[in-house]
């Protein structure tokens, strides 16, 4: 056992580091520098960085070169991500498009669509979003109600999506619709790509509990799309959507600026319980130990997955535990960090609060993180069903035509 690279991996890492050193600034040397806060400026910088990466073969590293990718391996991709994380570069706005939407277009789209969209997306020229969730279809995505009706060579779309990340700055999206309400819900769905700039598409930002606005509601009023924009056959939308969801990227990133046990130890030194340093209190010490053990468990679970990738094997199902543990830990640790500040824990001000206000921010953010991309409950179902082989949920609407299935408001 060791954490070393193979000679090929080491060579690739060296090459990546040299390129990054030439083209970006290390976070360690970036004192006072930061990424633009203004959205337009951030998008411009993100696009410029993506283009540079594409030119050097570091965009979509595992994709074939003929599609603009790097022609590399999964472990190359992991190495690049690990190294890039040390530099002050913009990231994120292409993740959904390149991680989920474009792979769906590549798998199901007609040749013209692939020719038209794949390269510009890889080069960061166009940004994509994914339009699946609806007010009536969250965990149960297939319960969605947005209608698409055939009209000659076109489809007319009416309805509403919700929780669409980045819809306000995206150029294109993939949209899951109901084309046949007379068959059971999974059988009446069809996928399209759409132009987000079409006037029949209206994007309204959602103000989150945290105060931020990263997601949107998207409304369609008589949006007309060509039949050639269809991805997969009519009625095959669920199968197509599964491709999208299967392409969710392997989460290999580090922490997202959250406070962890090291920060908590520092905070517990600076705060008191009954006049004594909080760090001397058994209750505090036990929690620090528990979260440290969880964090180490997640880290080495990731290392086990990387080991399998490095050997060219398929990783086991162990990585499925990651978000279940990480999201709750993020919430609990944030909450406890606020407790240590006692009455002052109510303050939400980066200048006044310890660790740049991280405890409060992660406590608020975790409420969303425990839901986004699969709730704690759905993820436990997935572990129980796919890993442990327990029976699937009883679905009372499985065989009923969608328009006769029981529904809420």
């Amino acid at each position: 056992m060791d954490f070393n690279d193979t000679p090929e991996e080491a060579a690739y890492r060296k090459q990546v580091r040299a390129w990054l050193d030439k083209n970006a600034t290390r976070k360690a040397d970036a004192k006072g520098m930061e990424l633009p806060r203004d959205l337009d400026a951030l998008i411009a910088e993100s696009k410029a960085w993506q283009k540079k990466k594409a030119d050097a073969g570091y965009a979509c590293i595992t994709w074939p070169k003929e599609w603009g990718g790097g022609g590399g391996t999964t472990i190359d991709n992991v190495i690049y991500s690990q190294e890039e994380a040390n530099y002050l570069v913009p990231g994120g706005i292409f993740a959904i498009g390149l991680g989920m939407c474009i792979p769906t277009v590549m798998t199901w789209g007609p040749e013209e669509a692939k020719e038209r969209f794949v390269r510009p997306a890889v080069r960061g020229e166009e940004i994509w979003c994914q339009l699946f969730s609806e007010p009536a279809g969250g965990s149960d995505v297939a319960g969605l109600r947005t209608r698409a009706e055939k009209d000659g060579d076109e489809w007319v779309i009416n309805g509403q999506k919700v929780w669409t990340s980045g819809a306000h700055f995206c150029d294109y999206g993939i949209l899951l619709t109901r084309t046949d309400p007379n068959v059971p819900k999974h059988k009446g769905l069809t996928m399209f790509w759409i132009d987000m700039k079409d006037p029949a598409v209206e994007v309204r930002p959602i103000k989150q509990m945290s105060g931020g606005s990263e997601f949107n509601e998207v409304f369609f009023t008589n949006l007309r799309v060509k039949d050639s924009q269809r991805l997969g056959k009519p009625g095959d939308g669920w199968k197509v959507a599964l491709t999208t969801l299967m392409n969710e990227r392997l989460a290999v990133g580090g922490s997202q600026g959250n406070a962890d046990t090291d920060d908590l130890i520092e905070l517990a030194r600076d705060t008191t319980i009954a006049g004594e340093p909080a760090i001397r209190h058994g209750g505090v010490r036990e929690r620090i130990a528990d979260w440290y053990v969880q964090a180490q468990g997640l880290k080495f679970t990731r290392f086990r997955t990387l080991t399998a990738l490095s050997k060219g094997e398929t990783p086991g199902p162990e990585s499925s535990i990651s978000k279940i543990v990480a999201a709750k830990k993020m919430q609990d640790l944030g909450s406890f960090g606020m407790d240590l500040q006692d009455m002052g824990g109510v303050i939400r001000d980066r200048k006044l609060s310890p660790a740049d206000g991280a405890y409060t921010e992660q406590w608020i953010g975790a409420a969303g993180y425990r839901i986004a991309g699969g709730t704690d409950e759905i993820l436990r179902n997935i572990v129980a069903e796919r890993v442990l082989g327990l029976p699937g949920e009883i679905r009372v609407d499985k065989d009923l035509p969608f328009n006769q299935a029981p529904k809420g408001k």
Partner: protein
């Protein structure tokens, strides 16, 4: 990146697994628990015949000269079977203690016997219902004799050699030394003590002017030696705990699939599905921590103390949780004497206590983290 066992190590694991599945089903654990045998002698003999007791003992002392990683895979399988054998006392503890800190002569005297399985060894630390600490160890060593009472001592009734934590005078940690006692040399008596898991023998061990010598050649180093010995054992016990967790989860899963209530398999209810998913999550956290523990133990890495503590905390948490929820998943039948659920329930708690409770290890861990954070 390689946080995995080698193909050879996996093959060894498979061999041990097959042997135990064949020769050490739960009916053997039940037999030992129900009867007067201190351990399952035929299973022990089989393990000895496979050479497993000598795995990590150097060849010059009659072992195979393999490393900690081989011991880890063996431990996982012993844990899966809840095997009623003195492997942990004799190998993870006594043999490792002598191998790490014994003089050449002590190694020559004891290791070949432990490697060949002709003798069982153990360590004696606890003196009753409180955690051992340099301030409270009363068993004393002076003039080459040990006097005092140790309780509970795992496998003490069968042990030919015991490494005993003793008070040799002096202050703080320097008050503690480790002594080697030959139980055949007189002055040692053992009496079985009733415990929560009678499938593993524990005794009260009384020393009256028992002839002994200090482990190694210097007095006053026992507490730090013990700390290192227990770190290694913590990693190995963590693998037993991972194996036990997997076995308990598998039992619960099988029952959840075959048992029907209200017209459905109980494994189709989310209350059960989520419970079993939670066991799986804890098991994977325990396994990943144990893997890093194995790596640190094998490399004698600087992070061994933290990795060992994390392995022990996660392993204890996973196995105790799995064993408890396995009974719960079985419902009433799981609480009966005839059910096998009890073996994991008992063993999980025994393992969580046997080289120090999780709360003690958490304290040890946080002390280390504090020191590192301050540096």
């Amino acid at each position: 990146m390689n946080l995995d066992f080698s193909d050879d190590q996996k093959m060894l694991k498979e061999q041990v697994r097959k042997f135990l599945a064949d020769k050490c089903p739960m009916s053997v654990t039940r037999r030992v628990l129900d009867g007067d045998e201190p351990y399952a002698k035929e299973v022990w003999k089989g393990l000895v015949d496979m050479g497993l007791t000598g795995t990590a003992i150097p060849e010059e002392f009659g072992g195979l000269g393999l490393g900690a990683l081989e011991l880890c895979v063996i431990a996982e399988e012993l844990g899966r079977a809840a095997a009623p054998v003195p492997f942990s006392s004799s190998i993870y503890l006594a043999a490792e203690a002598i191998k790490l800190f014994g003089t050449q002569k002590q190694k020559e005297t004891w290791l070949p016997k432990l490697a060949s399985g002709e003798m069982i060894g153990t360590v004696a630390i606890s003196e009753g219902t409180h955690a051992a600490h340099p301030r409270n160890i009363e068993t004393a060593f002076s003039g080459g004799k040990v006097n005092g009472v140790k309780q509970p001592v795992a496998d003490g009734g069968e042990a030919g050699v015991v490494v005993v934590a003793v008070n040799t005078g002096g202050s703080g940690e320097q008050a503690v030394s480790l002594a080697i006692v030959d139980t055949k040399a007189g002055g040692v008596s053992s009496e079985a003590v009733r415990t929560l898991d009678p499938s593993r023998e524990n005794v009260t061990m009384t020393f009256k002017d028992a002839p002994a010598e200090i482990l190694g050649d210097k007095q006053g180093e026992g507490w730090s030696q013990l700390s290192r010995i227990l770190d290694g054992a913590a990693v190995l016990f963590a693998f037993e705990q991972v194996g036990g967790t997997e076995a308990a989860l598998e039992m619960a899963r099988e029952y959840a699939l075959e048992r029907y209530a209200f017209g459905r398999q109980i494994g189709s209810y989310q209350a059960i599905k989520h419970k079993l998913a939670d066991i799986y999550v804890k098991k994977e956290l325990a396994k990943s921590n144990a893997y890093f523990g194995a790596m640190m133990l094998n490399d004698e890495g600087a992070e061994l103390p933290e990795a060992a503590a994390a392995s022990r905390i996660a392993g204890s948490d996973a196995y105790v949780f799995a064993a408890q929820e396995n009974v719960q998943t079985h419902g009433g039948i799981g609480y009966t004497w005839e059910s096998d659920c009890q073996f994991h329930y008992r063993r999980a708690k025994l393992l969580a206590l046997t080289i120090g409770a999780p709360i003690q290890w958490k304290e040890k861990l946080v002390s280390r983290l504090e020191a590192k954070n301050a540096a």
